[in-house]
Structures are given as structure tokens and as C-alpha cells.
Symmetry: C2
Subunit: 668 residues, 2 copies
Amino acid sequence: MMSLDKNIETLAIDTVRILSADAVQKANSGHPGTPMALAPMGHVLWKEFINFNPKNPDWANRDRFILSAGHACMLQYSFLHLLGYDISLDDIKNFRQMNSKTAGHPEYGLAPGIDVTTGPLGQGFANGVGFAIAQKHLAARYNKPNFPIFDYHIYAICSDGDMMEGVTSEAASLAGHLELGNLIYLYDDNHISIEGSTDIAFNEDVSKRFEAYGWHVQFVDDVNDIHALQLAIINAKAETQKPSLIRVRSLIAYGSPNKSGTAGSHGAPLGEEEMKLVKEFFGFDPNKNFNIPPEVAKYYKQIGEEKGKKEDDWNELFAEYKDKFPELAAEYEQAAAGKLPKGWLDKLPTFEPSDKKMATRQASGKVLNAIAECLPHLIGGAADLAPSTETNLKEFDSFTSENRDGRNFHFGIREHAMGSALNGMALTKGVIPFGATFLIFSEYMRPPIRLAAIMKIRPIFVYTHDSIGLGEDGTTHQPIEQLISLRSIPNITLIRPADANETAQAWRVALEHQGGPVILVFTRQGLPIMDQNKYSKATGLEQGAYILSEASKTPDLILIATGSEVSLILDAQAQLEKDGISTRVVSMPSWELFEKQDAAYKEKVFPKANKKRLAVEMASPLGWHKYVTDEGDILGMTTFGESAPAEDLYKHFGYTVDNVVKRAKALL
Amino acid sequence: MMSLDKNIETLAIDTVRILSADAVQKANSGHPGTPMALAPMGHVLWKEFINFNPKNPDWANRDRFILSAGHACMLQYSFLHLLGYDISLDDIKNFRQMNSKTAGHPEYGLAPGIDVTTGPLGQGFANGVGFAIAQKHLAARYNKPNFPIFDYHIYAICSDGDMMEGVTSEAASLAGHLELGNLIYLYDDNHISIEGSTDIAFNEDVSKRFEAYGWHVQFVDDVNDIHALQLAIINAKAETQKPSLIRVRSLIAYGSPNKSGTAGSHGAPLGEEEMKLVKEFFGFDPNKNFNIPPEVAKYYKQIGEEKGKKEDDWNELFAEYKDKFPELAAEYEQAAAGKLPKGWLDKLPTFEPSDKKMATRQASGKVLNAIAECLPHLIGGAADLAPSTETNLKEFDSFTSENRDGRNFHFGIREHAMGSALNGMALTKGVIPFGATFLIFSEYMRPPIRLAAIMKIRPIFVYTHDSIGLGEDGTTHQPIEQLISLRSIPNITLIRPADANETAQAWRVALEHQGGPVILVFTRQGLPIMDQNKYSKATGLEQGAYILSEASKTPDLILIATGSEVSLILDAQAQLEKDGISTRVVSMPSWELFEKQDAAYKEKVFPKANKKRLAVEMASPLGWHKYVTDEGDILGMTTFGESAPAEDLYKHFGYTVDNVVKRAKALL
């Protein structure tokens, strides 16, 4: 560690406070109070603890830093700028402006050094649990005696809001259970929220609650006491079994004579006059903005350079590791590069039409288990529904506090934390995470799905029991609006395969996909396996929609369906053709994949000249008009479902061959 | 209390265990294990504690019962049947069948005696907090010395799953903060979840955690010890300040020789053979199904009748109350009947075009405060965003542990619990609850919105900061897919008003609405106030879409928008008309209200003959094709937003007069 120099440290910390507040003031928008308060915390973290290389923000063994209180992002931007990341003073001055790196909340991929996009409260907290899981897993797989390739920690700064959000509770309980001692979280207990003192809504004993989850809890009663902070973090690192929470009291907008300790300093600039008073308080020139004393610039730059050397040491270690464990090193490097092992495609099973009916969740289970050995980086689990979602990797162990090499995860009945943890895992190069629950419970995990889409990362969300076809569990469990709700999220790819072979293709596309989350939607109920000799091959799935069964002559109409309704429209086609109506059947497992096709392909599948189209999906009809045109129709669910055996529900809601034929004929 | 007779009690309890398992077996679907285990708990609750009248399940002062572990619904159906509710033995035999009252999870409005629809875990727990808030509030408003009109308790049975869900944590923290001593929750700590022992995912100290929230926590180590259960509930009732959690150990599928204590008995019938063994275990005839010993039938029927007399006593009390406090009684009766006080409409403000720009959130705040005094039953709050959502009722106090008469709620940064609590409040006759946050955080509260829609109850969800128009907070905070996601939920009514006067009308429709939740969507940014003399009156909002500004002659095209984009298309209309293009402007604040209009009205607004239509909305274009037709276009958001000032974002994403005019002309 560097020698301590009281004066320079204080000056450095105060510079960060003022620089952050200046940026908010110039943007005339943002959150000055927390950066001003937490500058000492950031200082201690980046100076004393966090390992990083500003010149290579993606260094695999860097410590992860999560600003779960994302609104306080100026704190992080100020440090990243000063420590030598590629964030200029102009970037700081352009805080919250168009095309700037310094967005209103920290965005992964936009500014270097941002390990995860935060802002929606609780998410960062729970993402960190995924980071911690991934670190433990990589360490178990790759570390060797004298080769601690992966020994990084996960640091986070959390706010009162984070502590109140349910996803935090779920994630904290999971982290305690899994004994993720690599988590070191600092909780900014500033007693202020937007409506005023936190006392108006929040007076639980947070420390006791975290102890109940199995966390190691400490308290620092003044964030400005940097030695106390240091000591607490040293203790937290020494505690390797329990995750650590350090509750730290702070005064929001510290240094602002009129606004410190008030809700008013949380989410609005302090004002030009108050900014002058702040600068005076810290002994800075009240008339200078973005004033970084040269000795502070030099001081932090030097810290950044020294920290960067840690990667040099690691690179040496890894080179030696590569010599000694070439296969493991190659495996990791391939996985980290996002490449799949050669030969994995050969493991993808195909299913014969002579096989008996098979639910796509079952087919998915068979696919997963067929490819699992060849894809060691594929890890995942369910929110206490593995037997129902069929997502267990049968030949592999569970990931537990005692077995970090396990590949099956028991997330508990915590869908939201599962989603957020998957994001942390997906952000860690070297693993491909998936998580499963019933489609209806995607509703519990909307925020992490959206954040995965914003970050363009690729967790795989597996959702089974995808329609009224689940039967007796009834209204509360039957998805209706979930497909359109998920399809409406930018950057997602939702695939609802029609049978076992489309399911295998769906997994292929999901595993090869880059640039956003993939959502796989499977049935509870058994479905016929379509004859790939009679109909088009299931590989057509990758185009999103494809002519599964061509009409006997120029089509009079086009039937379109996804998932379990495809076999229904195939049966309807047979009837319609018998009745002399030339009918094309289009399987459309993925709107998003179809939209990526060129105009010629789209015209081939849905010719403009043929607007007699019927879409059949056991879900909300919203959004289908685009594909069926003004002259088409949609057989969708316009109400919630009912509790009854699936066959009765199909009759009740009109998902029968007779009704499809009737609706189709009505178009002509 | 009735005298205790060991033998009949045991027989009665065992009858419920077997009856419940029989129903699951006949349905060949469902969850037998928990009803079998918890029959003693149900027995103690309904016999000794819960006040109810089977002949009037809606009695206002009944104790509320919530089966948060909704999958265990056969437990409740069995008791309701035996106690004399209108649930026949045939209904029990038709468990989970089409058109049966006895759905796969308990459904409010379907079976009598179901106070709230449950199934999605954690919801019931959090609904109860809303019930408890409403009870405290009604008691504060209406109870008088010697007239405890509202003194009921809220009982719930919760499962491990409930304890793991984040919404429970949020709700528990809120309940502890608000000192809701009227909550008495029993937690079935059975150590079993679907993937196996709860130990694989859940080993936190639940009791300690609830103590940290400020709850009174007790432990009963065997659910079959009904005296211990009684004592614990007596203690819980005696503790009037803290909410109570009674952790009760149970053995799932108690009485099943081969399946008790296993995950296998959670969600599948035990099987015919095992059912015989169960019956033998309890000394029942193994060959008889749905066997209710006559003495048990008589025993529970009598309990039901005696309980019913409690309502007679209350009715006498209320009659006397009515004499002494006629105004209060009339106020309550009117509110409970869902009627609004006369004259309230006169309080609705109108806004003049000469007023300066006003955000619809601001207008909403003005409306709320204008009508609050006249509508004493309108209560609500925000998830720590009242100053931003402008939902504070300025002349009224906050609801706190010390002031139950307060009408402003501080839900904390707990959107999910807020939503679920609102549902519990909305289920309580005599209050109209609203809850507010940013539109983006509707994502945190999807499950309660959906359940409100399923139950057809009317909480009012207020969502502000409704588009990229919120500006600098950026990508994570800018709604894109939220409008279509919410519109896709059956039974909801979403209204996005275009200016201050439409906002007043939106509140009018919301308050007069019945049969489902209303979602009000407001801007952060200021909007011009449209001249109601020049354009159509804002009362047109109630039809969902209306011709706001007619074309100069037969329209060449139709511009359609919602919310903040309406003033943009008005400006575009002026330009287009200047360019000789006859343009109609349709304000379309609510798709759902429009869909309720007759065909003639729809044809008037959107004539089939005119398909040159451009919809403009700063949101996902999905779903708009239906209204713009094959020949129309949609100016929507196909990507996430950006962090920048709003004006810059409008330019970047094309929400300018020039671009609207360009896109419109391209249609011709």
C-alpha cells in the first residue's frame, strides 16, 4: 500500500465531492448528495482495495465494483476519470448529455469501468450475487495450487432503497445460504430518501436482518473516518465464509451548508449559490468549476498506474498457468471469447415422429442433458421448479457452499433474484447461465430481463408451462399477456418452439446468440413430433418464421402459429385442403428472428398478395395484426384462463381443429 | 368458545385431511400434502378464532383469511364446505374442473369465502398488509367509544415459498414499521419445497429476520399440537402493536406412510393405493371416497351457525351506531356500496389554455388535491416518490403507526409490496386506494397488477415519468415497452391523458370505474393546455379515442397520438393543413375505453375508407398496427432510450413536427 498522506487524501476526497457536484450542476440534473457524502468510501475502495487496470477495464481477475445506488454515478465517473480510465474531463462536463459516456445512471458498455448497468434499485445488489457465484465457480474450475487465477472480490455500494427492495432480500438470503464470502457490500445508511427521513417508512433493524440471512455485519458510524472504513473492509476480506455487509452512516451532501442531510440534495442540483458555499466549506475557490488540483490529478493517476501493474503480475501468472495446464487454459480462453467447443452441435439430439408425444419442456431437458458434457460452461438452475421445468443437468452436481464446481443451481422461490443473479453471471466471461421457472413467473423478474436487454448480455431465460395448456393450475398460473409483454422488450429474442426438434434448434440458436437475452418458452403438455421428411426441417426456426407445410397450390390462405398451436394448424390445414382450400402453414417460433430476415424472405413467407391469414396462439392477440394484415384474423386469448383440464380449456376457448377451420373459412 | 371434545376434534381434522386429498386424487391434479398437514391449523383458526358468517361471506367486520399458500386451496374449500358456505360436496368433487367454484388456486369472486385470489407466492402475505392497513384506517374513521365497528383481524397461512419471495420481505418490513398488530400470520415451516428439502436453498433464520422487521414471533414445534396453536394465536391477539408471525413445524402429507415429508406429495396426487393407506392410517374406510362422518358434518355445521350469530350481534351494534352517528354511517354505507358523494364532480378543476405548460403529473396533483376533501375514501401514496409523482394530499396527514386516520401512505422503496397492499385495500369496501411510482417501476409490481385484473378490483395505479420525455435519467428509467405490456393485461384500463384537462377526465373515469384496475400514465415534462373552445372537449376521453381536431375537409390522413404526443400532432396538423393536406387529429388516451365503444363510433373516428393513418407514441410500436391499418405507419420507439435532455431526445428519435409531417406525407 502507498504511504498515507493526510493532506493529499483529504484534498483528493474533497476534489471528488466537488467535481461530482459540479457535473450535476452543469447538467442541471442528477444526484449530487450521495457522491458528496461517499467520496471517502470511494477513495478507500479504489485506493486500498479494488484491484483494477484502468487501461484494461475487462481484466478477467479484476475486482468487480457495483454501484447499486446507480443514481450516485457521478461518484464513480469522478474516480474513473481521475484513476486513468478512458473518461475525460470533457466526458465529466457532458454528464447526462446526448452521446456522452457519462449517462444518468452507469451503463455497462458505454463507459469503461462500469461492470454492470444499475439504476433500478436492488438490481446491483442482486447482480453482485451472480458475480460472486461466477467467481466461485470459475475459481473451482480453474484455480490450482499456487495458481489463484480467479481470486477477485465483489464490492458494492448500496443505498436505503436497495435495502428496501424485495430483490435484495431474495439475493441476500441466497448469498447467505451459498456462503458467498467474496461479497463485500457497503451500505450507505444516510437516513434520507426522496420523501424525507427514512423513518417515515423504514425503521427495521437492517443489521439484524442481514445476520439472520447469515451475513457478517459491521458498522462504521462515520463515512469520513477512513481508517474505520479500511479496518471494516479488512475484516470483511478476512471473513471468507460469510458475505459481508458494512453499514456506514453518512450525511447526504456533506459540505453543503444549507442542503446537507436533506432530501432536497438527493435528486437535484444544489444551485450555483450553494455550490459556491460548498467550495468555500472545503477551502476551494468558489468561482472555479471542475477544479482538479494538479497534485490530486497526479496522486490518483499514480494510484491507477500502480493498480494496473497488478494485471501485469496476473498475466505472468496466467502465462505460467497456460504452460502447466494448457487444456484448462484453452478451455477458459475459448469460453471467455464467447466461442463454443467444436463438435457440440453433433450432440444436439433429433427426435423421430414415431416417438410419442413430448412436451417441449421435456425435449428441452433431453437437449440440455445431451449437450451438457460438451459445454462445461453452461450452468443454470431453477427457482425451485427444476423437476417441472426439466432443467436439471443430471450427470452434474449442485452448486453449493461446499461444492463450487456444481453446475445446477437451486435459486429457491426467488425468481427476481434468480434473474438478477443470472445477469451477474452472464457478465462474467467464461460461463453461460440459464435460469428457469414457469412463464407466468417471468412477471416476478421483469426488471432483470429488461436490464439484460439494455446491456445486450445473453442470459438464457427458460420459461415452461407457457399457456392455458398447463390446465388445472388455473387463472393465476396461465400466461396470457406474457408473450407480447416479453416480445415488446427491445433486444430480446423470444423463441416458442413447436415440437421437440424445434426445441433442439431453439437451444442451438440460444447458445450461438450474442447481443441480448434469449427467452425460451416451452409447454407443459405433450406435443406431437412433426415429421421432418414430410414437413420442412426444424432448422427453419433460425429464420423466426418458415413455411412448415406448403399449400397444395397457390395458397388461398395462410395459417400461422407458434409453439403448441402449430400442430393444431397442421391438422386444420389437412381439413381445409380436404375441403378444397389451399392452405399454407407457417411455423413462427420467433418474431424477433423473423424481423431480422431480408425483405425477400419475408415476402416469400408472407406474400403481400395474400392477406387471408389466420394467426393462432393461446395468448393475447396484441401485436399479431402486423402479420395477419387488415384482411386476416387472430385466434388469441382475450380473457384470462380458467382452471380445468387442458382439453376442456381448448374446447372452451376455441383451440380446436373445427374452430380454426371455421375461422379460416370466414376469411375467404 | 365451544367445549372441547378430543375425539370429535381429531375425527373432524382427519376428515378434512382425507377429504382434501380425495379431491386432489379425483381431479388427478393438485397439492394434497399441505392440506393434509395443516388441517389442525385450519381447524383451530376457523373453530376458535376467525369470525365469519357462512351465509354472508361479505360481512364487513368478518376476520379476513388469506391462504397465501394458495396451492393448498383444498384445505380452505374443505373447511368452507363443512362450515356451511355455499360450496357443495359436488363442488369439492369438481375440484379443478371447468365451471367449478373450486379452482386450482382460490379465486376471489368465484368461491364464497375467498377473501383474495392467491397462488403466485408472496402475494397473499402482502395483500394482508393492505387488508390490515384498511382495517386500521376504517377503525380510526368510524369506530367510536363502545362502537368497535371495525375490529377484525387478518389471518394468513404462509409457506416457505412465501417467506422466500421478495414481496413478502417488503411487505413485512412495511407492516413492522406501521405496527400492524392486527396481522396474525401462521408460517407453515415444513422444510419441503419442490426441488426437495428447503435446506438446498433456504437456511436463513426466519424468526430472527421477522424480529428485525419488528414482528412478534412465536414458534410451535408441531402443528398437531392444537393447544399450542391456540395459545400462540391468543398471544398474537394480545400483542396489538406488533404484527405476529407464528412459525409452525409440520410434516407435509401427514398420514401418508410412503409420501409424508417428501417433495413428491407437494404437487401431485398421492395415488389410489397410497390414498387407501392414508385412510387406514386415520382409521377411515380405505374404500370410501369423500367420506364425511355425519358427526363431523354436524359438528362443523354447528360451528358455522354459531359463528354466523356474530354478524347478528354486529348488525345490532351497527344499527345503534347508525342512530347515534347517522352521517358517519351513511358515509360508510355509500362508500362501501361503491358510490361517490354527490357534488364531487363539481370539484374537478378545469384548466385554461392561457395557463402555462403543465406536466400531467402536476395536473394530476392539482386534481387530487381539489377532490380530496370531497372524497374522504380516497387514500393513497407513493413508493418514496410522492414529490415526483405529485400524489401527496396536502391538506391531510400521513398514515402512520400513531395516526391511522392519515390518508397519505409512505410505502417506501417497495413498489411490489405497494401494489399488493393496494389490492388488499381495494378488496376492503369503504376505501379507494391509489399508489404511485415512475412508469418504469411498474415492472417491479407486475404480479399485483395482474391479480387486480384477475379479481376485477379497482386499485388506481398512478405512473409518472412516462417516456423518454423524462430526459436525463436515461435508458434504465425511460419506459419503452411498458405501455403495451400493461395494455396487454385483460381487464385493465390504461389512460394516458394529453394535457391537464384530459388528466382531470382521466381521474373522473378512474374514480367512476368498476371491474378492474385503472392505470393512469402521466408525464414528467410540461405540456401545453389545449383550448377546449378550439378543439373538442376533454370529456371525449371517456370514449378512449376521439376526434380532437377535425380536418378542414374530408381527411386525407389521420394522425393519432396519446399523452404528450397529442400536442405534437396538433402542431403537425397545422403544418400539413398549411401544405394543403387535410388532416384529422385523434387523441387516443385509452385503447381499452375505445374498444368498448360501438361499431358506429369506431367507424366515425377511424373510417374504414381512410387508412392513411400515422400513430405517434414515444413507446414500443407493438399493437398499433390494428389502428393504423396496413396502409398506415407508426412513429414509435424501437430501441431503448438515451440519457440526455428531453428536447435532444425528441430530435434524436424523431419526435418533431418536421419528422411527423414527413412520415405523414410519405403515406400519401
